[in-house]
Symmetry: C2
């Protein structure tokens, strides 16, 4: 496996985030579901942008943030996602390549513009996302470079893509090819409302195709339609090779085989904007995972990466995360059943 070209190839919605501070009253006035990602059309995007405060444009997209984090850590990553041939598309492409991710999905040349997510950050650092999918809706199976899939250690799929039939097909094709090639399939559930829209499909995926599942508390409760975290934990244990359940300030629980690790969040972080916390967690986890670290180390690097991105606006790391990784990984052991020896 060590000869594979990429540690992780991800498929996701290629989005530029427009981030602005907002007060609670604005969310109420415009009936925005706080903390969630809602899909909006072009007219709503126009309308909401008009009421939004001054913003900053930063490349985003859940899985794209994750591979950006992996590359920032020094990992080898590729990304598959659809932008349009416009200024925001150029921004997205520049940023993901500049951080070191291989990205060459053809841009859409006519019709829809590059996707953007209007992110309202309230004083409590919660983010409420209103996403206009634009060009991402045109991602299809033809965009999946199967050479990238089969030459990766992990293929990482973004649950958000389930909203688009052709993107869903692209994900399924990638998952099947990955399984057939001995490539680990990872999935993030992305959003509790997204899980609610496609629960049966996600349950089928988790039971039959996913090796490593990422979910936050709301998502895993939604998947199993249970009320408590512990109930969800019991539901997911029999499935997946590994399940990574993130719990914001409560840290994360990592399940794998018979192991259960309860990892505390990094204490005393000044939280500015939680956008991308889960994405960064996945980056840290997968970076360590593809280096055959024990699951507790993977979980700890996830928490350390999440702590980095919530300390500033924007979903991608800004600090020297390689030194964070060096510190966390100094205490690692090799994962049981890993296919590589510790390096």
């Amino acid at each position: 496996m060590s000869g594979r070209r990429f540690d992780v190839t991800a498929i996701g919605n290629a989005i530029v985030d427009v981030i602005a501070a907002a007060d609670e009253a604005l969310l109420v006035e415009h009936k925005l579901v706080k903390g969630a990602m809602s899909l909006i059309d072009a007219a709503d995007a126009e309308r909401l942008y008009r009421v939004m405060g001054p913003g900053r444009e930063v490349s985003g997209g859940s899985a794209a943030n994750t591979v950006a984090g992996i590359a920032a850590l020094g990992g080898r990553a590729a990304y598959i996602g659809k932008v349009a041939d416009d200024q925001l598309g150029d921004v997205f492409t520049h940023d993901i390549r500049a951080i070191g991710v291989t990205y060459d999905t053809p841009a859409l040349t006519e019709g829809l513009s590059t996707a953007r997510s209007l992110i309202f950050v309230t004083p409590d650092a919660a983010r409420t996302m209103q996403t206009f999918l634009g060009a991402t809706t045109q991602l299809g199976p033809e965009d999946v470079n199967m050479e990238y899939i089969t030459s990766s250690r992990v293929v990482y799929l973004e649950g958000y893509l389930w909203d688009q039939p052709r993107a869903k097909q692209a994900m399924r094709d990638a998952a099947l090819r990955a399984q057939a090639s001995g490539v680990t399939v990872a999935l993030t559930l992305s959003d509790a409302f997204c899980v609610d829209r496609f629960r049966d499909e996600f349950l089928d995926l988790v039971e039959h195709h996913v090796d490593v599942l990422f979910a936050n508390e709301g998502e895993i409760l939604s998947l199993y339609q249970v009320r408590t975290f512990d109930e969800a934990l019991q539901c997911v244990r029999p499935h997946c090779h590994v399940a990574v359940l993130t719990r914001s300030e409560k840290g994360a629980v990592v399940l794998g085989g018979g192991e259960v690790h309860v990892i505390d969040a990094v204490p005393a972080v000044r939280v500015v904007d939680t956008t991308g916390a889960g994405d960064a967690y996945a980056a840290g986890f997968l970076y360590a995972y593809t280096r055959d670290c024990d699951l507790a180390t993977c979980g700890r690097l996830g928490c350390a990466m999440a702590a980095e991105v919530i300390g500033h606006y924007g979903a991608r790391p800004e600090a020297d995360v390689k030194s964070i990784a060096a510190r966390v990984l100094s205490g690692r052991t090799t994962r049981a059943g890993s296919t590589r020896s510790a390096g």
Copy 2:
């Protein structure tokens, strides 16, 4: 004067900043003049963007930052500047309106795209700007809304515009109309290299048309071709009603009539990115100035605003600057010769 519609109307280059961290070696390799603003063409913009790290897009433009700061403080401001009818133009327009600035210069509908400035921020927080002017080069006298000029207390002109003949004409028209209408004319020299390119024109302006001059140390040394700050100080004293000379960590010197005020910088600021420090200084100064504060108070609010923006990436204020102003202005007195009573 108190019946005027705007405290300040500014004319400047409407630019979206692309801000990324960079190391010194990159500046050397690409022969970038550290700390300066250099103009580049579309091909160079393309080439430099390729070597730039992941960035964030934030509305900028020197005079635009200043009016944004004035609006954030609660002042009434208008802006005249040219974007194109494209995504980055939409971003610029949205952000400046969202902060409360009146802005309705018609966007360019064909040809050039919205201006962008690639800003390389080195670990010492210095910013090196490479600006592609794009649509801003098409600003002309027809874009100057003379109703805004004549209904303002201050018209604020950006020296950067001197690089474009038609924009220069627009500025001259605005300055003459302002003078004829009893409106204060303020000018920022913008950049030592810009001053070097148009020294005679700036000297003529300063001597005959400018009431309030803003310059940093490098700019005022360049204007008078002298070697020490004190020499420059002596040169500028006979000219301008007010001269505001900013000196980074050394604070600022404010001259007005017979007065000379030496204002210390705010101590112990953690400097992240100096982009927009001078623009923010001008915002604080002019906000207090249009409220008839004494010059020392104007200078102190300038320093306080500069301290706010250098503490984060991006050139526009993010903190609650109204409370900063309330604190600084609590000690104010009324300016000698002011046309309004203290309010």
